[in-house]
């Protein structure tokens, strides 16, 4: 089985690709529009430079060769949501070609190309007989990423998309809902001939649509039939794909160069653009460089790249043990309450602990108090109360220590008791940390 994807990602610019209309959500249809994105006669496109920069960043992220010169093309087709009946896209010399992207850090997925283009408007059916068109989306910049048919299963395609989106979000600061706004054309062949399922929205639907196709195509082949090359669409409600057109009726888009935009020499721009390390690469590097478990590294990176960077700082200033103990421990637990506070005091505290200037308890309290903004004595008092509660339980259940020696899940009994009897005033990570600390002191 071979699966290849064409992935459309909206690029997070403030204004549209070829005009200055805003890209933010509009209150009413057809309000974020101007002569250019409405394709009025005499209007003209002017490229938003940021779109080219994002294109280059993604090309680099995907390991593509960035073109020295690139230009735009006109793709002609008739549809009501397409204001000019021409989409400005890239055909010859796209921004990037010939990349490799590693799924899970291991399996290479070849990237055919990445290009930038404008989004059409949106058509909405009202009743049986008519549709309404909203052009607010017309001219929003997109990147289209095309893979070779290197994916082997629908689940793998979903995994690939998940990882890709996470990396893209990281590299170009895509907003959090990037996953939902992703649109995909899925090419899949179980036998020799392939079918394309157009315009599937979201990771889950990509997997559903592909799974449906696997079953459909397999059934046809088993019955001795032949798969016809065609374009299909996915019906989200019914979970099935439906034929739209056969190969011989495939649109001929009649690409020509876009004469209004000219040729872009982007060699120097591309050299000046440095991209951030992708989360996956960072995960693999952390595990490798600091000898920590890959799971732990992933947990750090997925919580926040900032947290992972703090881990590196602490590991370099003190040692990996301290970094694991404090950054993976209490710092990670309180990461959400940190807000935009400076990280340096945390590093300083851990260094003082490492140098023997403060005790284990003091270090924990300082970190938590700083991160949550709670008064140190309150934190200390709360911690002392928590400790007292745990000590009391351990004293009353002396057999638990032996159980713990056999299986550390025994700690859950303590944790459950404390959570139940403390009215939820402690965070679960605080309870877990304190329990482990106190059990281990009795081993």
């Amino acid at each position: 089985m071979k699966i290849g994807l064409e992935i459309h990602v909206q690029l997070p610019t403030k204004s549209k690709m070829f005009c200055s209309c805003p890209t933010t959500d509009a209150e009413a249809p057809n309000t974020h529009v101007c002569p250019t994105c409405l394709g009025m006669p005499g209007s003209r496109p002017v490229l938003n430079r940021k779109v080219m920069e994002y294109g280059i960043m993604l090309a680099k992220m995907l390991g593509c060769k960035v073109a020295d010169t690139t230009w735009f093309s006109r793709k002609t087709y008739f549809y009501p949501d397409m204001t000019k009946s021409v989409q400005i896209t890239q055909y010859d010399n796209p921004v990037g070609e010939g990349g490799i992207y590693y799924l899970g850090g291991k399996k290479p997925i070849r990237i055919t190309r990445i290009h930038i283009e404008e989004d059409p408007g949106k058509t909405k059916r009202v009743g049986d007989q008519s549709s309404l068109v909203d052009y607010n989306r017309s001219g929003i910049p997109l990147a289209e990423i095309v893979t070779e048919p290197d994916l082997s299963t629908p689940a793998e395609a979903r995994e690939f998309l998940g990882q890709l989106i996470q990396d893209i979000r990281h590299v170009i600061d895509l907003p959090g809902d990037g996953e939902r706004s992703i649109r995909c054309d899925c090419n899949i062949s179980v036998g020799k001939e392939r079918c394309e399922v157009k315009n599937v929205t979201g990771l889950k639907n990509v997997e559903r649509a592909l799974t449906f196709e696997v079953i459909r195509q397999t059934k046809i082949l088993k019955a001795g039939g032949k798969i016809e090359r065609e374009t299909r669409r996915f019906d989200e409600e019914r979970g099935v794909t439906i034929s739209v057109r056969k190969k011989e009726f495939e649109a001929d888009y009649g690409y020509i160069d876009e004469p209004d935009l000219g040729v872009y020499h982007i060699k120097e721009l591309a050299e000046s653009i440095k991209i951030k390390e992708s989360p996956l690469k960072m995960t693999l590097r952390l595990a490798d460089q600091y000898g920590i478990d890959q799971k732990m590294a992933k947990q750090l990176v997925t919580t926040s790249v900032g947290l992972a960077e703090l881990f590196e700082t602490v590991a370099n200033r003190t040692d990996v043990q301290n970094a694991v103990k404090w950054v993976v421990g209490p710092v990670s637990a309180n990461w959400k309450s940190l807000g935009d506070k400076d990280l340096q005091p945390i590093v300083d505290t851990i260094c003082r602990f490492s140098a023997g200037g403060i005790t284990d308890t003091e270090c924990g309290i300082e970190i938590k108090s700083y991160m949550t903004g709670e008064d140190a004595s309150a934190v200390m008092g709360a911690a002392a109360d928590l400790d007292a509660l745990i000590v009391k339980f351990l004293d009353e259940n002396p057999g638990l220590i032996d159980d713990y020696r056999k299986n550390d899940k025994a700690a859950n009994k303590v944790i459950g008791f404390v959570m139940k009897n403390s009215g939820g005033q402690y965070s679960s990570s605080d309870v877990v940390d304190a329990t482990k600390k106190l059990i281990e002191s009795r081993l």
Binding site: M40, T76, P259, G262
Partner: protein, 440 residues
């Protein structure tokens, strides 16, 4: 010629048909008056680009060229008739009125800026903005006996120009006075961030340079009418007497320019015209009960003229899978060859010179009998400079036995409008042009 009396504008227009839309003012309030080809958008006047498909379209913005003329004190008095979207040589392919030649109203003004040339010939102290894609300024200038300049591609912002072939379209000036070319080109030229292709130009501040040498391509002397050939040869003598050296040269690329032009121009045009589907502006009278693609088809069938349909078909064919490389991609290569040929000759000459059109303005009944191919061929002398994007200008240089004006066309190197403007001013001093007899 007659002075511009707005109260008589309508009756003049009834006779010559130069305007599609006219001002409703009683008198000119600006410091000068001008007209503009109807493919330049104007806020206060309907803009149709000669097509019924745009009937009723009132743009939300002024074309940059019109805005600049207005800012300089100009008053727009009318939008001039033209071939539909610029598709033609005689302005006879108009969805509306066909302008009539001021020297003989049975004859064409040329095209596609026919109404502009007509207005420039009929009204005193009048300047008209024209647009050239394949010769649409020089051809009507020649037929109507006026000066017309199409500057270097990118010299004048195309913002607000209703596109024919975006890589070829150039906005220029038509006037009965040579000195107007410098004056008004100076107003409309310059960078405009709304048209990126205008932003690569060097500054426009032309001085004066004497024309010391011209190259006359031998290929440009073929297929001329007797009147045109003799007027042109006489003009060469005049130029020599003015101290210009004349050399006949070979320019083999000229004959390839025309097929390449029709491939590029129609390829681009067919994509430009794709937007006219009766949904968002202009004419919208169609059967809404149809499915959208049937609606589009019926609408386009109804409101596009025959020549527009022909060019959409041609241009769609030349960019189809399987033909794109053979036609579209090859035409792009030919364009480079033509440019190189001009560069080669202009390295040792100030300008390339040939007659503008091979014959004088034809009669409408003769035009009706012409095949599309005959009409396309008539442009073979104006197309090369247009495909190369080099500045070019037609000046009146004689009159045929039928009394109709004859023009000759100078082509200069990219951005060298200076030599053309200088030639025009020198030429005007030695050549006495005739004015049409205008009576209403």
């Amino acid at each position: 010629m007659i002075g511009l009396d707005l109260s008589k504008l309508k009756s003049v227009n009834d006779k010559y048909g130069m305007f599609h839309a006219m001002t409703e003012k009683e008198s000119v309030e600006g410091s000068f008056h001008f007209s503009a080809k109807d493919n330049l958008t104007s806020k206060d006047m309907e803009t149709c680009s000669g097509s019924r498909i745009l009937e009723g379209y009132r743009p939300a913005f002024d074309a940059t060229a019109i805005a600049k003329m207005r800012a300089a004190g100009g008053e727009l008095v009318g939008k001039t008739n033209m071939d539909e979207f610029g598709f033609g040589t005689f302005s006879a392919n108009s969805g509306f009125e066909v302008p009539r030649n001021p020297f003989d109203t049975e004859r064409a003004c040329g095209g596609s800026s026919g109404g502009s040339a007509c207005a420039a010939a009929v009204f005193e102290d009048h300047v008209s903005l024209g647009v050239s894609t394949g010769g649409s300024i020089c051809c009507p200038a020649s037929f109507c006996g006026v000066y017309g300049i199409a500057p270097t591609y990118g010299r004048v912002s195309r913002y607000g120009l209703i596109d024919y072939g975006n890589s070829l379209d150039k906005i220029g000036i038509l006037s009965s006075k040579a000195t107007d070319l410098r004056k008004y080109l100076g107003i409309i030229a310059g960078k405009d961030e709304k048209d990126p292709t205008s932003c690569v130009q060097p500054d426009f501040n032309p001085g004066y340079r004497k024309l010391s040498s011209v190259a006359v391509p031998k290929e440009g002397m073929e297929g001329l009418s007797k009147d045109v050939e003799s007027a042109f040869r006489k003009s060469l003598e005049t130029l020599e007497s003015m101290g210009t050296e004349i050399e006949f040269v070979e320019m083999p690329s000229l004959k390839y320019a025309m097929p390449a032009y029709y491939v590029l121009a129609t390829s681009e045009a067919s994509t430009n015209l794709a937007r006219y589907v009766g949904m968002r502006y202009g004419q919208q009278e169609g059967d809404l009960s149809l499915k959208f693609d049937d609606y589009f088809t019926s609408f386009r069938s109804e409101y596009f003229g025959d020549e527009a349909k022909r060019r959409i078909l041609l241009g769609t064919f030349t960019r189809m899978v399987g033909f794109r490389d053979r036609y579209y991609a090859k035409a792009l290569q030919v364009r480079k060859v033509v440019i190189d040929d001009y560069k080669r000759i202009l390295a040792t000459h100030d300008a390339v010179l040939a007659p503008t059109m091979p014959f004088t303005a034809p009669r409408f009944d003769d035009i009706a009998n012409m095949s599309a191919l005959d009409a396309y061929k008539a442009d073979y002398l104006t197309i090369p400079a247009n495909i190369a994007g080099t500045p070019h200008m037609s000046v009146p240089c004689g009159y045929g036995s039928d009394g109709m004006p004859i023009g000759m066309q100078f082509v200069a190197d990219h951005w060298d409008e200076e030599i053309l403007l200088s030639v025009a001013e020198d030429w005007e001093k030695v050549f006495e042009s005739k004015k049409p007899e205008v009576t209403i």
